[in-house]
Subunit: 567 residues, 2 copies
């Protein structure tokens, strides 16, 4: 098609509200338009990209015996009541009522709908295993949509659900899907995506992996071991700490610490280090507002995912009121009184000579010896793994933290949904069993944005050929020149006839305007027809990623382009 007719504006200025490059480039290049928080419309170039991504995903899902189906976007609440998630999932599940007052939800994931679709079909063991998937709109009422297409409220997702009669069969299929995901990410142009162990969260089940594109723009933090192949989301990574117990325990003494509020101020004032202090972090349960106090080593941070999983309930940072019984800034485990849930992190186990709060404004203790002074027997891992920390797999201190975007995930769900929704099959002897499930997701728009994040320069995206909106960008510089016009028009016709996907810029604008628009559209190959080139009897062919640029004799242009795009 002709660029002059492409709907959407392109511009140079980086929009002020864009914190990551892919967001800025997609706005600047006429890919997306903001409609409401976390809700965008797409223009043609993005729609072409997402359709190609969808087709790649579809081919790979079909290749592992997936069957494409379609579930509704709007689902009756009763389905989510069957699974128990209508009550357990928070506000990200958008609930509403229809004209008859029936409660409904917007599908944010479709385990319930999948079980509903196959509950009768899957009544006999001989039907198993099978996998169904859809590529469909989802809505997740995120509290903080951000970063363009990375975290939105409405998005297109491929979600797949597999059904099995044994854990072994699920594991074998999970592995096939893992490999299919690797092929998908490689085909869309980001083979560097890694899979990391992850937390299963509200999905339930035991084992799950996230596929991560490592990039500073990511919103997840990944722990990678430089000595072995350990990868995990920090949410899921076990944090191992080295005990530092001193040979001699000092006596427990209360000391005045005026004007020292933070761990660092207290340590500086008392001449200690955060590693030898015990800090408190306070939460409240979302269900009954009760206080949870986590004590941990002063240099570590709470991993709220581990805490939530341990408690089995959502939590929020506590509101410490005057009458809650807690002495903000001076909370310590010794002599703490009140109906609080007190949790001790493993990093404190057997530690001594610690600084901690004295539960009295302006006072701390020194010399806390947890085994001597506290009546605490249970210690759990509630902290985040740290950069330079100990690898839970190989034990070396070679953990490196990296940011990543989650571009896909796979879960072994077990029988959480099939059991709750009473799906059963009979085996060859006629005995009834509950099938087990796996589920497998990829966000299409986020994947497009991730590819852009991985492949761009200051001037625009550099789309891989497999998902580029067009394969060739034909520029007629000085299209008012008769020879240029005639040759370029002819090339355009030839490309079109050869089924080469071409965007043709024949506007009467400067080469600068033309090239900056071409940079924003990020088409892999550019063919430049200009009076100067024609005088030399050639065209210029260049790649968007700047790896090559060459002059090709006029008669060879079509053949050269065909070879480049594999037509």
């Amino acid at each position: 098609m002709k660029l002059a007719k492409l709907v959407g504006d392109r511009f140079k200025e980086r929009p002020a509200d864009c914190v990551i490059d892919s967001h800025a480039l997609m706005v600047r290049g006429g890919y997306i338009k903001y409609v409401a928080g976390g809700i965008y419309s797409s223009y043609l170039p993005l729609r072409k990209i997402t359709r190609k991504i969808e087709q790649i995903i579809r081919e790979e899902m079909d290749a592992i015996d997936g069957q494409e189906v379609q579930f509704p976007v709007a689902l009756p609440a009763s389905l989510w009541e069957e699974s128990g998630r209508y009550a357990s999932v928070g506000k990200e599940l958008l609930r509403f009522t229809d004209r008859n007052g029936s409660p409904m939800v917007l599908g944010m994931t479709h385990e319930e709908a999948a079980v509903q679709l196959v509950r009768e079909y899957g009544q006999t063991y001989s039907k198993y295993p099978f996998m169904i998937y859809q590529i469909q709109t989802k809505f997740r009422d995120e509290a903080r949509p951000r970063a363009g297409l990375i975290r939105v409220r409405e998005f297109t997702m491929k979600d797949a659900y597999s059904f099995h009669t044994s854990q072994e069969d699920l594991e074998a299929y999970y592995e096939r899907c893992h490999k299919a995901y690797e092929r998908i990410f490689a085909r869309v142009g980001i083979p560097e995506v890694i899979s990391v162990a992850s937390d299963s969260g509200m999905m339930g089940g035991s084992l799950s992996h996230e596929f991560m594109l490592l990039t500073p723009a990511g919103e997840d933090t990944i722990a990678l071991c430089d000595s072995c192949d350990y990868h995990a989301n920090v949410e899921a990574a076990e944090n191992i700490t080295t005990p530092r117990r001193d040979a001699v325990s000092a006596p427990l003494s209360m000391v005045e610490t005026p004007d020292a509020h933070t761990i660092d101020e207290v340590c500086a004032f008392l001449g200690g280090t955060p590693e030898k202090s015990c800090k408190a972090v306070v939460y409240q349960r979302c269900d009954d507002d009760r206080y949870i106090i986590v004590f941990l080593r002063g240099d570590l941070e709470v991993n709220e995912t581990k805490l939530t999983n341990y408690l089995g309930c959502e939590i929020r940072p506590a509101a410490i009121t005057e009458d809650c019984g807690l002495c903000a800034g001076f909370i310590g485990p010794y002599g703490l009184k009140g109906a609080f849930t007190v949790l001790m992190d493993l990093s404190l186990k057997e530690e001594n000579n610690l600084i901690c709060g004295a539960n009295r404004t302006g006072y701390h203790y020194t010399g806390l010896d947890v085994s001597r002074d506290l009546n605490q027997t249970e210690y759990h891992d509630f902290t985040k793994i740290t950069d330079g920390g100990i690898c839970p797999h190989c034990g070396k201190k070679t953990i490196r933290l990296s940011r990543g975007i989650e571009v896909g995930n796979i879960f072994q769900l077990g029988d959480k949904y099939t059991k709750a929704m009473h799906m059963e099959y009979t085996d060859s002897e006629g005995a009834a069993h509950t099938p087990i499930m796996g589920c497998y997701g990829i966000g299409v728009g986020r994947l497009a944005a991730s590819v852009c994040e991985a492949h761009h320069d200051d001037y625009g995206p550099i789309w891989p050929l497999s998902i580029a909106p067009w394969q060739v960008h034909l520029c007629a510089i000085r299209a008012d020149n008769e020879d240029v016009r005639a040759f370029a028009d002819n090339l355009y016709r030839e490309f079109t006839e050869t089924h080469i996907e071409v965007i043709y810029d024949d506007r009467i604008v400067s080469a600068g305007v033309m090239f900056s628009d071409a940079d924003l559209l990020g088409v892999p190959f550019r063919v430049i027809v200009s009076p100067r080139n024609l005088k030399e009897g050639c065209c210029e062919i260049a790649s968007r990623d700047k790896t090559f640029q060459k002059k090709v004799p006029l008669a060879d242009v079509l053949a050269a382009v065909k070879e480049l795009v594999g037509a």
Copy 2:
């Protein structure tokens, strides 16, 4: 793929709740599953059909310079407030609030979203005309979903929006789109679809057409002229009546009509005919509950669409209460008192010697002469055209009524949305104007169901090759026979390698079970491998529509099938 692995159940019994064949066959054949009223999930065979339909639509939209975009399913209410439709559209617009309490709607049509997407882009005349379209999920909270995929609440729709600087340009594009629609319906296998003039309803604008598949299962009624090419939805068809004024007017006399409540009873009692009576039909406005009384000839029916358009407001059948001032069953135009809106249909103009209610229980008038007795000067067309009625185009009494399913529609919207939403462009002189729009819709699922309605027998759908879930259904009868298994497996491999879309039934089941399943899947061509055929050195190839059945030598099967499917 192998039929044994196809997810979904097929069965013989017609479900009791299915009023039309396509619904019954889609349930029986494992195409759809009921989730909630007007909400279905699709299994693989339907998803394959809808994907092919979508691709045909996409190609035809691209061929008329359409650009595929994507709008959100969930839209901020503010967009619909800009156009005024947030208030004017009824409960079919599903309204809800998000977690922050912001009002939102589920998109049932996307004029507002289309204007929002291109409002800045279209600021200069040189950008026009342009057309954008999407193929996306819509939700319309229908009061009475029915007939399977024909009238649902959630559906996939192709909706297109064109923008123009002149009415002539809009009309020229409208015509191109009309032709594209004809190509689409022909390509999916229902070239018999006709376009009919239609009412524009809540869309606004002046001219619109619906594309109708004529079938008794349809829920629309179409007026067709047997003498000329006039086609119109009865909602939009002008009703022309022949004046029947008698030479002499009898005097107006009140007569007692005990126990006569219906028009027919009154006419029988008084020795008149419905054609010479004046009946009343009473409505209430939905906005302020005021009563609307329509008087019309006794043999005609009110066309509520015309009435709604005239009033500019939704109406409902009236609740005639004891104190509303109306005398139910005896309402007449003479001596009627009260704050009612009284409307006279054209069919009564200059009529005389009519029977009508006397606004007194148990009494009617005879001898009503509307020009003599009533002070009424305005008459409008509020009635439905009738079978055998007068064609508004050629004037002959050759109107025939037929039922139809609306498979598509096109509207000339004018500036309703662009004006309300302040979209403007400057012309070559720098003067500001409001662009005008057209919009063009096709429901994908309804189109699939319509094709099924047009092409099926008692045993299942007969899918046209262009949209069939598979091209070939390969049946291995007695797959436990070694020769059958070997030959059929080999054919399956050859078909697959040749990219022929094949479903392979190699189950150890009877030929009867195999064929009834094949009938339900409706694949155009069937290849049957059986011990008997093999003994004769051939396979049987048959078409699902039963137009042919032949034996083909084994060596020629692949070539014959390739020719049939055009591979």
